[in-house]
């Protein structure tokens, strides 16, 4: 009797162990473009079925961004590259605040676009990458009414973490986000330092909140 229970327990433990070892391996096996397609389709479906997001409810949009998008983004790297050389001198608190404020700025910027999602689908464009590439570009088009919208991503391989890839740059209609913000941030950092940049971002976010 005891032996039977023990055997079942053993089988159960073995099963759990197997699941634990296999699951991350499966996740890593997902190709970057497959992941982007799954992720963007998932986000689009969420928006289509959520009346609050379509009416522009910012807290709902931030919740969606935090739950679906942010786990797949190396936002620290994005912020660091946008801030440039000044990032290295920043204290951990300054780094945290920069990321927070930058995220709010971006979410607000894209909230309007998300509110307009209706019947769009994401189409992957052909990808040039070899299996050993640690950084890849995934190119997509969002097709709906009107001209297709070019949306490209740069991803880095993160073996065993999340889906195995993290986004660290985004290209909307031919314009890379990090590069564009680098020249927005540089004059602020040069003139007023990291704290000056944080203050500017806080002020901008406050002004944007008032507008809308």
């Amino acid at each position: 009797m005891h032996r039977r229970i023990f055997n079942r327990l053993l089988a159960g433990v073995a099963g759990i162990a197997m699941v634990l070892t296999i699951a991350p391996a499966c996740a890593v096996d997902e190709a970057a473009d497959v992941m982007i397609h799954r992720l963007s389709t998932d986000v689009l479906d969420n928006i289509k079925t959520d009346a609050n997001i379509k009416s522009g409810d910012l807290s709902r949009i931030i919740a969606l961004v935090d739950s679906k998008i942010m786990p797949n983004v190396n936002f620290q790297r994005m912020t660091a590259s946008a801030v440039g050389p000044g990032w290295r001198q920043a204290t951990p608190e300054q780094k945290m605040r920069l990321q927070e404020e930058f995220k709010i700025l971006l979410v607000r910027t894209y909230a309007g676009a998300l509110a307009q999602v209706s019947d769009q689908v994401v189409v992957l464009k052909p990808m040039r990458a070899s299996p050993e590439d640690r950084e890849v570009v995934v190119r997509t088009e969002v097709k709906g009414r009107g001209d297709p919208i070019q949306l490209d991503y740069r991803l880095e391989k993160t073996p065993g973490v999340g889906a195995g890839w993290k986004i660290y740059n985004l290209n909307v209609l031919g314009v890379w986000l990090v590069e564009t913000y680098r020249s927005q941030f540089a004059p602020e950092v040069n003139a007023k330092g990291i704290d000056g940049l944080i203050a500017t971002l806080v002020e901008r976010n406050r002004a944007n909140a008032k507008k809308g």
């Binding site: 290295r88 031919g174 590069e179 564009t180 020249s183």
Partner: protein, 258 residues
Amino acid sequence: MTLLWRPYRAFAGVRTRSQRLLVIFLGLILAGCATGPNANPVDPLEPFNRSVYRFNDAVDQAVFKPVATTYRDVTPSLVQRGVSNFFNNLEDAWSVVNNALQLKGEAAGDSFFRFGVNTFMGLGGILDVATEMRIERHNEDFGQTLGYWGVGPGPYIVLPILGPSSLRDTAALPADIRGDAVTHIEDVTTRNTLWALRATDDRADLLKAEAVLDQAALDKYSFIRDAYLQRRRNAVYDGDPPEEEPVEDAEPPNSLPK
């Protein structure tokens, strides 16, 4: 032959005037040329450009934006779509030539069929039947053609009224104006009406983008400049530009698991 020749001649008068303007304008640019310690390599004319930008912005706020806003509010969206389609169709005709000049046979063919289908089946271009038929649009202007053949963008230039451009795209402008069917309309009233309508329609399309820009940019001038230069480079390479030399990251990748 005469049919083709006569509107061309009507345009010849404008050409000399525009050439004179161009000379004056280039003189102004050189006068505004300043290379300070903070000069951006892509924007050596920044002080001059910024003043033209301010001028454009003032004109925009006073005239173009109010007109475009009213147009957007009072015109049924179906009509607005028809107007955009009509001008896109004229662009497609010019894209046939530029795709051919870039030896892009399939794209030239697509543009040709789009123009044919939309002109004859889409009421002169008001309906975009070609897109319904899944014929892809390959928009190419002469600036892109020059870029395709290796001409770099050169310094960024903000043109009065016309806005962001580069030395290359400014040099391509006379060709683009000639390749524009509206230029060749002989009736002055019709021609000017179409120009005004297109300007209004283009500006109305930008109203939403402008609202985003107001929120996203810390410095609108440099944001527009960087977006323009990147978008043009992207367009020259048909959406797939080669990597530029990587900019050194402040933080190595994967430095912190999140």
